[in-house]
């Protein structure tokens, strides 16, 4: 229990002394405790926080434990939090009613506190084990379907080294997607997207988005209009009117590489500014786009721009997982912090391969899926 992030418990009891006792015992056992002296106070806390488990007294004035449980069950976001009753009574009727309300168990109040703690620990262990098994089942199914939102490797392009790094948060696929589309012999499209949201739900939608992006790129090329801004606007129009994607928004960075002229054209949709490392000036500069998140407005205000990479220059596209980090006070988003880290890495002449190793070492501080694509111009166009 003491390892990793502490489990959070909401303790609800109108007896201040017993509440204090429980608080001390659970804190000692490594829990992060929140105490509430009434069911109403507990519900207020649950409006803002979601503990791992709730332990509630039955007999309380105004709203008793059963009424509290019923209120919790009414809330979609709270109903699956494991709930245990604490009762001073051994009234069988109360216990049966409690169990009917999907309370996982009950504990008689005169049970030694150490035993209550052990019981909660066992319960959480079982719940987590079940959750892990469910996730394992989904992961097995996904592996069997062989569908991926991130390719195995980057394409080889004359004059460039293209590489990327991607990690799922907590080993569960999320909303980041990467693709490299060789539209024809001349153009390569580099795509980095991030569905707003997390875990399986976001992951599920990556395939719809990827299908739209791939189709729009192919249609544009076959229609002799390969403008990246136009491609984004076409995708945006479809997504904006797609009822199935209502409220599912995504950022996308889209780059077209002309392999013949080595020119880059970029358009973005609600994406973080790219970072362009000028090897001659030893400077890392932001490259910002104008476009809004896909699906947000019918006109996404997409524009495109040329990016000129000189020999040795590098261009970085990345998702917000790399700028969202865990700090002592909680979590924060800090684009400048990430840009600073990248600058130091580039100034010390380290390769992207080495930067990927650094990112691997920082996995514990990440709070979201994280992806970065590096395009390094190695040879100037003849």
């Amino acid at each position: 229990m003491a390892q990793g992030t502490p489990k959070t418990i909401l303790l609800v009891d109108d007896n201040p002394l017993f509440l204090k006792l429980l608080n001390q015992a659970f804190t000692k056992a490594g829990f992060a405790c929140h105490t509430a002296h009434s069911a109403q106070e507990g519900l207020l806390y649950l409006q803002a926080q979601k503990p791992d488990i709730i332990l509630s007294d039955y007999e309380m004035p105004e709203m008793n434990g059963l009424e509290f449980r019923r209120s919790v069950l009414k809330e979609e976001s709270l109903k699956d939090i494991p709930f245990m009753f604490l009762t001073g009574s051994d009234d069988k009727d109360i216990m049966y009613t409690g169990l009917d309300l999907q309370a996982i168990d009950y504990v008689i109040k005169d049970t030694p506190v150490d035993v209550i703690v052990a019981k909660i620990n066992n319960l959480l262990h079982t719940v987590n084990k079940q959750r892990e098994l469910s996730e394992l089942e989904i992961k097995k199914t996904v592996a069997a379907l062989n569908i991926k939102a991130v390719p195995k490797e980057a394409p080889l392009v004359n004059g460039f080294n293209i590489d990327f790094w991607h990690r799922d948060y907590q080993d569960i696929p999320g909303g980041d997607f990467i693709d490299f589309i060789e539209a024809d012999n001349r153009y390569l499209f580099v795509i980095l997207g991030d569905i707003m949201g997390k875990k399986w739900k976001a992951w599920f939608y990556t395939f719809t988005y990827l299908s739209y992006v791939r189709a729009a790129v192919r249609f544009s090329i076959s229609g002799n209009d390969n403008s990246v801004a136009t491609i984004l606007q076409k995708i945006n129009e479809v997504i904006y009117h797609d009822e199935g994607l209502r409220d599912i928004l995504s950022s996308v960075s889209l780059i077209r590489i002309d392999k013949l002229t080595q020119q880059f054209t970029y358009a973005g949709a609600g994406d973080l500014p790219l970072l362009h490392y000028n090897a001659h000036r030893l400077q890392l500069n932001q490259v910002s786009s104008s476009g809004l998140l896909l699906g947000l407005m019918s006109d996404g205000n997409f524009t495109e721009q040329e990016i000129n990479l000189a020999e040795g220059d590098q261009l970085f596209l990345f998702t917000d997982g790399l700028i969202d980090i865990a700090v002592d006070e909680g979590k924060k988003s800090d684009y400048a912090l990430f840009a600073g880290q990248l600058t130091r890495h580039l100034h010390s002449k380290q390769t992207f391969q080495e930067f990927k190793s650094i990112l691997e070492q920082q996995l514990a501080t990440l709070v979201d899926d994280s992806s970065i694509i590096c395009i390094h111009k190695t040879v100037s166009h003849a």
Binding site: G197, N301, Y335
Partner: protein, 112 residues
Amino acid sequence: MLNLIKEETNHILVKVNLTEANLSHSHHFKNELIALLNFKKRSVWLDLQTVTYVDSSFLGALVAALKHAIAMKCDVVLLGLQKDIDDMLKLIRLDKVFKIYSNEQDAQNAIG
């Protein structure tokens, strides 16, 4: 999570009682905000001064509520954003779709 502070003719002022606004709140937050918009039929000014971090799920919920508000010819206005969050919204151009003010008074002066 949402506390109705006051009601004006054209808008309501609502305080968001969160510090870290993330996936665990986003669904509930979106439903509550949309229910408020439907019930009050007025723009919602959200006081976010206690929020220190928003993840992409929560941003998605905010944007979904804004889309809903626009469809009913109302608005979702953001007040009291902390610097990190304000910076983040600017980086991804959400400042182009949300009206953002440092406090209620500034919002009153601009659009009240």
